[in-house]
């Protein structure tokens, strides 16, 4: 993949990672497991983006967190907050609008 394509793909995916996190974290989970599961279902994201993103979403009150110390390695579990849930709804609706609009464009109705 050339650099131009890569940068446009990155632009396109940037916002979808936020939405994917908010939806996925209705079930509490920790950073690395989230990274694996998102990449596993095809939402491409790298660790350097995801970890700072989780921290930022928590700071904005869209995620809540709790340390789990049951295992040898303490892990921070994130969960979508009510505010995060609300934002996920708004983003999902917008995503569907964009999808419909693009579908109309590609099928020629919009032009």
């Amino acid at each position: 993949m050339d650099a131009t394509t890569a940068s446009h793909l990155q632009e396109l995916r940037r916002g979808t990672v936020v939405l994917a996190c908010l939806v996925r974290l209705r079930e509490p989970d920790y950073g690395y497991a989230l990274l694996e599961s998102l990449n596993g279902i095809g939402v491409t994201v790298d660790a350097n983006t995801l970890y700072p993103l989780l921290r930022r979403l928590e700071k904005q009150g869209l995620l809540t967190s709790e340390w789990n110390t049951d295992e040898a390695r303490p892990r921070k579990f994130y969960r979508t907050s009510p505010a995060g849930e609300q934002l996920a709804g708004v983003l999902t609706a917008d995503w569907k609008n964009i999808d419909r609009a693009l579908a109309r464009l590609t099928s020629g109705e919009g032009s």
Binding site: Y30, G31, Y32, N48, Y51, R73, P74, R75, K76
Partner: protein, 328 residues
């Protein structure tokens, strides 16, 4: 019990956490440990030895300071897009206004103090250089601090009133210049001729005394009149063709042809009629040297500015050509 590999992680976490404010460090350190641990585990599961896995993970994380900046949303640039244009305008304005004034003032002051030429230029250069560094440094420091302080500072808001006027390249725009040049040059030539016959200064016998040395009529006064005539032709050429590099060079040559002989005659005392100096009582005590120096400097400044002005107009015209094509 600490293994060498664990020490490496400890050092990394410590180095990264120290970029954060004290209250956030502990939480951030735990988060980073979790991340490193999970990534090392993943590598070990795919068969790498623990030490190698740890090393590879830290290499992938990169510079701890850059990583911390990413976690903090802290800018890794000195001045970002929000303030860059304001900063650039301020620094260029300061350099364009303050620097020439300061350097000119130093040149003048040194010359008035009677310093040797080498020393005059050396001190003007050193003052100009250190002033340029200062003018660039302090605004940059302030903007870098503002960039890093929370909240939105007052941003320079752009409004349409700031749009520059499009330079008028047409002959219509140059007609004013032509008239002004011809009138000025005509008056100038007239004054040179008139001072030889009917100057307002008279000696005790009531005869009028020429300002310029009458000896100059043999060669130099005709020379200056010819140069003035060429300047008039040149003004017409500018009107017809507009500024270009050839005319900018001709402008330089004309300025040299006038200024160099005039300055040489003036400084060697051949320009002004000795009888005229007697009548007006020159030299005026202490002030004489200073007045002479100021005249020389003003003269050089006007000539140099004329040459620079020609170059600026040439460059602008070239830069503006795409715009005028767009207007057709």
């Amino acid at each position: 019990m600490t293994t060498p590999a664990a020490t490496l992680t400890d050092r990394y976490v410590w180095a990264a956490a120290h970029n954060l404010p004290e209250p956030q460090r502990e939480e951030f350190g735990r988060e980073l440990r979790e991340r490193i641990g999970d990534e090392v585990d993943a590598r070990r599961q795919s068969g790498a030895p623990t030490d190698d896995a740890e090393f590879a993970v830290l290499v992938e994380l990169g510079d701890p300071a850059a990583l911390a900046a990413k976690y903090l949303d802290r800018p890794l640039h000195l001045i970002g897009p929000r303030y860059y244009l304001t900063w650039k305008r301020l620094v260029t304005t300061l350099l364009a206004i303050v620097l020439p004034i300061a350097v000119g003032a130093v040149l003048l002051a040194q010359a008035l103090a009677g310093a040797p030429v080498g020393e005059v230029f050396a001190s003007a250069f050193s003052v100009g250089f250190s002033l340029a560094v200062q003018l660039a440094f302090w605004p940059t420091l302030v903007f870098a601090i503002v960039e890093r302080s929370p909240g939105s500072g007052p941003v320079d808001r752009w409004t349409p009133e700031r749009l520059p006027t499009i330079p008028d390249d047409g002959k219509g725009g140059r007609l004013g210049d032509l008239i002004a040049s011809l009138v000025f040059l005509g008056l100038f030539a007239g004054v040179i001729i008139w001072q030889g016959y009917g100057a307002p200064v008279a000696n005790r016998l009531g005869e009028s005394v020429p300002v310029l040395s009458p000896d100059l009529w043999s060669f130099w006064i005709p020379w200056f009149l010819v140069v003035i005539g060429l300047e008039m032709v040149f003004a017409a050429a500018i009107y017809v063709w507009g500024w270009n590099w050839w005319l900018a060079i001709v402008n330089l040559l004309l300025n040299v042809a006038f200024a160099v002989p005039a300055l040489w005659l003036f400084t060697s005392g051949q320009l002004v009629n000795p009888e005229f100096l007697d009548v007006v009582g020159w030299p005026w005590g202490e002030a004489g040297g200073i007045v002479a120096t100021i005249i020389v400097f003003a003269f050089i400044a006007v000539s140099v500015w004329d040459v620079i002005d020609g170059v600026i107009k040439t460059v602008r015209r070239r830069g503006g050509s795409a715009l005028s094509l767009g207007r057709i």
